[in-house]
Symmetry: C2
Subunit: 94 residues, 2 copies
Amino acid sequence: MTRYPVRMAVTLKPEVLDPAGQATLAVIKERGFGMVDELRIGKLVDFSVQARDPAEALEVAQRLGREFLANPVLERFDVWMEEDLRLGAGCDGE
Amino acid sequence: MTRYPVRMAVTLKPEVLDPAGQATLAVIKERGFGMVDELRIGKLVDFSVQARDPAEALEVAQRLGREFLANPVLERFDVWMEEDLRLGAGCDGE
């Protein structure tokens, strides 16, 4: 058994309004970020899954998204496995 | 000028406690997901940036993270540009 890191994005479906995102966008546009648009806020859930192989870990992650982490009426979810997580252009704000 | 889609992950630094993540993990472990661990909840901010090229869009996104979207004491942020966003194994819960 191996421990696989998984990242899940839970986002509002495109047809669902996002008042928090709209409020954030209005503020940042006022503060010099007029070039930013279409801002929407979602949730990110990072976790690890103990599994025999990546396919099993992915299956567990997708079941978790369907059953617990995403509201199927309002939200969708996407799952990334470890090998995809190295792509970010990171900054820890320091 | 082109409109570049950007995805930003805002996550708690590893040394910062995440009570919401701990509570979620406790519940899902009770409900048949004992193989899941190390669960932490973060924010996801999707937006577009009007810019001359991807490098300029990335620079705007990182400035936005530093100045507005992440709390530098508690959080870090990572930025992905459009070409990286095709990797997810998606599911919209339907």
